[in-house]
Amino acid sequence: MTPLLKVENVVVRFPLQGSFIQSLGFGSASLIEAVAGVSFTLKEGQTYAIVGESGSGKTTLARAIAGLHHADEGSIQYKGNELCQLPEKGFKKYRKDISMIFQDPFGCLSPRLSIKSIITEPFQIQKMKDKDLDAEAKRLLSMVGLPADFATRYPYQLSGGQARRVGVARALSLNPKLIIADEPTAGLDVSIQGELLNLLVKLQNDIGLSFVVISHNLNIVKHISDKMGIMYLGRFVEEGLTDEIFKHPKHPYTFSLLSASPEPDPDAKIDRVELLGDPPSIMHRPKGCEFHTRCPFVKEKCKIEIPKIVYPEQSQAYSCHYSL
């Protein structure tokens, strides 16, 4: 069975700001690798979580899958069709199948357009003139649990949770198969995070959607994802079934992330794995294992040799010289 999404060794590079001459096209500016070789597969009807902290490259990876960035190397296959290196014209037909929800609930909504215009925008972009936009707007609003009269409102009149749901409505307009959700609960109060997540799960059950969820919040990821990948400096350091990783993390970074969430219990005794120092910048990648500068279990070998990827099970992978 072809997986819905197959990502293989994707690399995304950015040029550092070059000189004026370079901006005219002469000479090459130095490049940094925001995504340095990531692979994973997603089956239909599943949710894959990409977890990482700021600077890990997770948002860049998400945008590459959504066709917003060019992947410089590697392959992204949707239902067996290669998406990398497709020109915009070729990608346009996949925009019906793959849509994105953005991190900032208000920032992603055009401030001067009505909600109806915002959520029916995909129809207009795809030049679907025969659609009754009012009816579509009503349908989409009810799918996300918002009242129909919201169609005439403007983004500044909405709360954070409502704005987030408008973003979901928009992503649903062309009946996609895959939705990429960038930090879907960021900025939402805890009491309404559940609402949004339940909505996503319901949509998955009702219409068979698949999700790629980007998050730094492991608590959320635990509940809604089937598989996950932990990103550090543009690479997965551990990857596999969510349940397995939570029960038996293998990589020290995974372990420290899991133990970093403070327990909402003043008497909780936590075996915290504290990381040393600050995350290194991708402009100066550490030698050997890139995590060694912060790893509390670092040994000599880690500073020199890059660890190979180990596959303890068919669906698990991690890269560390000495696993936990």
């Binding site: 109060d189 509940h223 809604i224 327990e263």
Partner: protein, 323 residues
């Protein structure tokens, strides 16, 4: 001995559609050497509360009634000039966004020396004090890093610098408004640890505002839970986290995905939204979203019931219990 004592504070904002009652009857104390946490979600009034303590409210804010006593002065009736003598000396503030907390065109060292302008020390002494503070917050190699600019530091480092600057003056009260919300989890725990250490060192009190329950539980001695402009429950950290009595507190804890240990595909939420603060509903402010609502809640505003020692909650259900 209270460092800060807020008594029956009510503040509203003038809007085109009428007064928006942002704070209603808020009362609490912060004792010496204590860390008090305020838990609340959007619209609970914590920004207004902080704004009123540091006297930086919007122009359309009106203090309807109440007092804020800092040490022995009433902040409400203090002049702006007198307030300036307190801010940055006895009261320090750390804000949410470390990326915007510093002047981008001055080095860290310059800024840390500048804020010591009231001290009559030599520049060298001020610089040494700055280096000391940076060491205390865990910055590596501070002697050379004081010559760097804010953009050369990461978010986590910038927040640490902000903490160093706030505590440099050894204030009696540090107000921290969501200082770790913008940081990753691994940095968050580092900052919290540092705050705990520094608080012990300097013996200041901290007013810590956050919607992150885990951080509050780990850091604070006392906790205040706010909802839509009122304090609905307050007490020691164990009272609140182990024996929450107000339905909102209970519902809030139930929603925290960190507390839900078993994987579940249907997460609990609190249905509905906070009520309109311009046209306040009758009765209890939480009634429309409360799963334990009784008839009395519709018309009667609940009074604050004492449960035990310092543990209090504003709910009709407690009146029954006490009977």
């Amino acid at each position: 001995m209270s460092v800060l004592s807020v008594k029956d504070l009510s503040i509203s904002y003038q809007t085109d559609s009428g007064p928006l009652q942002a704070l209603r009857g808020v009362s609490f104390d912060i004792d010496d050497n204590n860390i008090v946490g305020i838990v609340g979600e959007s619209g609970c009034g914590k920004s207004t509360l902080i704004g009123s303590i540091i006297k930086l409210l919007d122009n359309n804010a009106i203090v309807e009634k109440g007092e804020i006593f800092f040490q022995d002065k009433n902040i409400i009736s203090l002049s702006d000039d007198d307030m300036k003598d307190i801010l940055g000396v006895d009261i320090s503030v750390i804000f949410q966004d470390p990326m915007q907390a510093h002047n981008p065109v001055l080095t860290i060292g310059q800024q840390m020396i500048d804020i010591q302008y009231r001290d009559k020390k030599s520049k060298k002494q001020k610089q040494n004090h700055a280096i000391e503070m940076l060491q205390l917050v865990g910055m590596p190699d501070p002697e050379s890093r004081i010559y760097q600019y804010p953009h050369e530091f990461s978010g986590g480092m910038r927040q640490r610098i902000a903490i160093a600057m706030a505590l440099m003056v050894k204030p009696a009260l540090l107000i921290a408004d969501e200082p770790t919300t913008a940081l990753d989890a691994t940095l968050e725990v580092q900052i919290i640890q540092k705050l705990k250490e520094l608080q012990k060192n300097i013996h200041c009190s901290i007013l810590f505002v956050s919607h992150h329950l885990g951080v509050i539980a780990e850091l604070c001695d006392e906790v205040i839970v706010m909802y839509a402009g009122e304090i609905v429950e307050s007490g020691s950290v164990r009272d609140i986290f182990h024996r929450p009595k107000h339905p909102y507190t209970q519902a809030l804890f139930a929603c925290d995905p960190g507390r839900i240990l078993e994987k579940s595909k249907e997460l609990p939420t609190i249905e509905g939204e906070i009520p309109n603060l311009i046209n306040l509903p009758k009765g209890c402010i939480f009634k429309d979203r409360c799963s334990q609502r009784i008839d009395r809640c519709d018309d009667e505003i609940p009074s604050t019931h004492q449960i035990k020692n310092t543990h209090m909650a504003k709910c009709h259900l407690l009146a029954r219990e006490q009977k």
